[in-house]
Amino acid sequence: MYNQTEILKDTSELGADGELVINMGPQHPATHGVLHLVVTLNGETIKKIEPHLGYIHRSIEKMCESLTYRQFIYVTSRMDYLSSHINNLGCALLVEKGMAIEVPDRAKYIRVILSELTRIASHELWLGAMAMDLGAFTPFFYAFREREMITDIMEDTCGARLTMNYIVPGGLMYDIHPDFQKKVKAFITQFKSKVTEYEDLVTNNVIFQSRTKGVGILSAEDAISYGCTGPVARASGVSCDIRKLYPYEVYDKVEFDEVLETAGDSFARYIVRVKEMNQSIRIIEQLIDNIPEGDFVGKTKNVLKLPKGEFYTRVETARGEFGVYVVSEGGTTPHRIKFRSPGFSNLSALNHIAAGSKIGDLMASMGTLDLVIPDIDR
């Protein structure tokens, strides 16, 4: 028969006060990837969360040190794969800034439209996955239906659905697909007619609201101190939209609102993202009919050499502020490159916002932080 004490010893490999230590991940349905959280529980209540990273660490920063300024852009698609286009844009902007490359207006417009489409696609996926974390499976499929239209547009124009690599320093790799405008407009109509579905199924649902309201509260001071950016910080009332603060490309020419909420809980983060999708639609609507004619790529030298010095650019990805810091020694490859990924900083706030709540709340908090693991590990 069995040995009673042996069983007891094993299920209680824990500290004082009957704490239970469980390993959430690296294979866990709610961590969306290979995030490993060591969660210390007291009954159902979380006492401490300790993230263990690195399961998908590819040392992209080291890799980039041996790639030229044309080549390193494609690697950044593999970090935050949901906003890969915006990552690419950040890197291209850095090279353009460092070498003072003139980018044609047409390329700028298209870059912004694609960035906003990427943002919507990312938020759509997040919405579905977040609802699934909370136990509602169906919104996932509805969200993916709309996302599919965006990935189709991306496929037509960029040639890939996720890791587009459509941007080169100085502009775009090739011109947009002839059907681009038509398809984007079709998407906008479809999106606008389906947005009410998310409201019925998710936003107004009493169970969803009770699961997210007042859960995982992050105050504005803490959000700044933890370096949170993007929807996470904006839900706490911190104005941090790079598109507004430090406009790049044509963001200074378009009208849109920075969505700010003050509650700082999971529901506020949810609302910020949903409203941001509408703002993105607004930006696209303003630009889609006004893409100027002209070149899609500016004149660049064949071999790009960044002057000696340090360069930093930031762009607003779907998750927040993505910064690229390059130390150049004047050669064709960067001496040191550092990616300030939004997910990394957002993750560091997880212990703060989820400690003291229930396991179910951890899913809501983690879901609304919108963690993309390759972005965190890099």
């Binding site: 080291k62 010095g309 340090e310 910064g323």
Partner: protein, 158 residues
């Protein structure tokens, strides 16, 4: 605040600081020992630099340089603080009690560059395995992002 005013203000706090205005932002190079008090004052004093948006380290082969990008959500001015460290025994005081985000970023720098942060509450490896790979030269240290790092198995030279 103009750059001149910032320079003046920082010079009053850290007299040994040198300035560099060639880049986008004002770069301030300070002694590692003078870093912590300066940072504390930048956060709480007149500058109110409450947002540390990038913390990293650069290996210049002769020395390591800690780079802190600071900004403020009130007046949106960014400055860069740097501190040169000895490559053999890099030690600097932590800033994670000033900005909470520094805790993870410093852990990352610790495992990638081997910089020791004194007074850090939990200085462990964050991304890599706890144990260094077998057969690795322990004397040189296992700091992957340093320039002289060699990994015969996983690094492919093209």
């Amino acid at each position: 605040m103009t750059n001149e005013e910032i320079k003046e203000y920082i010079s009053s706090l850290a007299p040994a600081a040198t300035f560099d205005e060639t880049g986008e932002w004002l770069n301030i190079l300070v002694e590692p020992t003078a870093l912590k008090p300066l940072m504390a004052d930048l956060r709480t004093g007149k500058m109110q630099m409450n947002y540390l948006f990038c913390l990293t380290c650069v290996d210049f082969k002769t020395h390591l340089t800690m780079v802190y990008h600071l900004s403020a959500t009130t007046h949106r001015q960014s400055i860069v603080i740097k501190a040169n460290l000895n490559r053999d025994t890099p030690v600097i005081e932590t800033v994670c009690d000033i900005w909470r985000t520094a805790e993870f970023l410093e852990r990352e720098v610790f495992e990638m560059f081997g910089v020791n942060f004194t007074n850090h509450p939990d200085l462990r490896k964050l991304i890599l395995e706890e144990e260094n790979p077998k057969g690795f030269d322990e004397k040189k240290g296992y700091w992957p992002l340093r320039k002289d790092f060699e990994d015969p198995i996983n690094m492919i030279k093209l």
